[in-house]
């Protein structure tokens, strides 16, 4: 007598939960995959495991009190988030920022961008199995964090930008340390290219894999290196210029096909462009005050305002609705990782399960940013 097999045993497909706790998802991301043997049929990212209610917190704190929250959303671009929020409120309330403060903000933002890309480089190779470049990247990051520690007092959750400028002035020692770091990182790039970029194992794992083409990237609202690797040269620093970026010369690296290798090269080239920006900003740092006049409790006029900056992962936007009091009525952040994550539902089907980690790592998602 034969017993009939259950449905799931006859079907070829099975469900796999690349769960919230996984060594390779950067944060608590849950990827619900429907697999047919080794090939992915459907991919469903489920977020929300890291939701802390920042936007709700903003409604019960006044604008100055929300500043530490900004660094904690995407902890790898803490200063850029600071900058975005502060610039949004300054635009609302009409607060003047002295040029020295603008230059300092740009220097810190670019250092933060290099820091974030170095960490991405290290952890991406860790996902692929090469453990050593992670340590080398972190050694380089130490120098950035030391430099930023000197002026802000913090290594990760900087709370440095204030309404009207920055909290403390930079001194000549900081400029010297940063210039030393720029020289050092330029020489390290050769090592990274020899160890990683030209490595045949790395090339085979990344070339032609996980193609996010221009169409998909534009439809899902991807920004940042994901979009630029697909061939669209969209960078907020050039498209909607803010701060002193119009005065600085830098290129926007783009890719051609949008595969993993292109995203990798775009980020490596972005680091080099950031070094260029840093040099120009350090050379042209004007004298003057580092903080303009701002009321102790900012009370912006009624209305809604939007301000976008370019974080390490893409376009970061702050949408603030003010009702005239010192508490924002609604604060919404448009985070780059949210759009970048959604594109996975289109890219992952058809790929091998073994490539999931490579593709996920290359999109560079920080889940606390997605969940806020």
């Amino acid at each position: 007598m034969t017993t009939p097999l259950p449905e799931s045993a006859i079907e070829q497909t099975y469900y796999l939960n690349m769960g919230p706790q996984h060594p390779s998802t950067h944060g608590v991301l849950r990827l619900f995959l429907k697999l047919d043997g080794e090939y992915i049929l459907e991919a469903d990212p489920i977020v929300g495991y890291s939701h802390r209610g920042h936007e709700k917190m903003a409604e019960s704190h006044f604008y100055e009190q929300f500043l530490p929250n900004t660094s904690r959303m995407d902890y790898l671009s803490g200063l850029i988030y600071n900058h975005g929020f502060v610039a949004a409120v300054e635009k609302m309330a009409g607060i003047e920022v002295p040029p020295r403060a603008e230059y300092i903000r740009v220097i810190c933002a670019e250092l933060n961008r290099i820091c974030s890309h170095l960490l991405w480089f290290g952890t991406y190779l860790l996902d692929l199995g090469g453990i050593t470049p992670f340590l080398y990247a972190f050694d380089d990051r130490e120098h950035i964090m030391d430099a930023l520690d000197r002026i802000t007092g913090s290594r990760l959750t900087y709370n440095y930008c204030r309404f009207g400028g920055v909290a403390k002035d930079v001194d000549a020692e900081f400029a010297r340390v940063t210039r030393v770091f720029i020289q050092r990182l330029r020489s390290r790039f050769d090592d990274y290219h020899t160890l990683v970029t030209k490595n045949v194992i790395f090339i085979n794992r990344t070339r032609g894999v996980g193609v996010i083409d221009r169409n998909a990237a534009l439809r899902f609202g991807c920004t940042g290196p994901v979009l630029r690797a697909a061939g669209v040269p969209y960078d907020i620093r050039r498209a909607e210029p803010y701060s002193v970026y119009p005065l600085l010369e830098f290129d926007i690296p783009t890719g051609t096909t949008g595969d993993v290798m292109d995203r990798y090269m775009v980020r490596m080239q972005e680091m080099e462009q950031s070094l260029r920006i840093l040099e120009q900003a350090l050379d042209n740092l004007p004298e003057g005050s580092f903080k303009g006049r701002a009321p102790r409790k900012v009370r912006p006029p009624k209305g809604d305002y939007y301000f976008a900056v370019e974080s390490a992962r893409g376009a970061l936007g702050y949408y603030i609705v003010s009702d005239g009091t010192s508490y924002p009525y609604r604060l919404k952040m448009r985070v780059p990782s949210f759009g970048n994550l959604q594109v996975l539902t289109e890219v992952l089907p058809g790929t091998l399960v073994a490539d999931t980690v490579a593709i996920l790592g290359s999109v560079d998602i920080v889940v606390p940013e997605v969940d806020r």
Binding site: H61, E64, Q65, F66, L67, P68, N69, R72, T132, Y136, D139, E142, D146, D149, R150, I151, T152, G153, S154, T157, N159, R162, A167, K168, D191, T194, L195, V196, K198, N199, V200, I201, R296
Partner: protein, 145 residues
């Protein structure tokens, strides 16, 4: 022939990659063997806040105005003060900060009207009991007299 060229180029890339790693082998380590070697914090490091000792009075100048209490986003500060004479400033008698919830924003330091709050350089703040995170600033400044 393209395949042979690929194999040769690939092998050369592997060998040069190995050369990079082995070059790092003889270099000095970049880590610090804590706790045998201690780390120096920078001057602007944000430890928990503490009172600044002014030279003229030899003590703090907290007037228990409550600005730091109102500005703190996480409500970790508790202050009480008393006024001993009619036309004098208040003086703080109790000042507690629950550092385990402090987010190091610096709003208290920035907005203190008498500039008596400043960041300390304490970084060895691991404690075993939840209430050990509560720092009594007045006792702290008196203890280091």
């Amino acid at each position: 022939m393209g395949m042979i060229r690929d194999v040769l180029v690939g092998s050369w890339s592997l060998i040069t990659g190995m050369a990079v790693t082995i070059r790092r082998y003889g270099r000095r380590n970049v880590t610090t063997q804590y706790p045998r070697q201690r780390l120096e914090m920078s001057l602007s490091y944000r430890g928990h806040i503490e009172f600044k000792r002014f030279e003229d009075t030899g003590s703090h100048d907290c007037v228990a105005c409550g600005t730091c209490v109102r500005f703190c986003p996480t409500n970790v500060i508790k202050v009480q003060g008393e006024k001993t004479q009619a036309h004098s400033k208040k003086r703080a008698t109790l000042y507690f900060i629950d550092f385990s919830h402090c987010s190091l924003c610096g709003l208290c330091v920035a907005n203190c009207p008498t500039k008596t709050l400043t960041f300390s350089q304490e970084y060895e703040l691991a404690h075993e009991c939840r209430w050990e995170g509560v720092v009594d600033l007045i006792r702290r400044i008196e203890a280091t007299a």
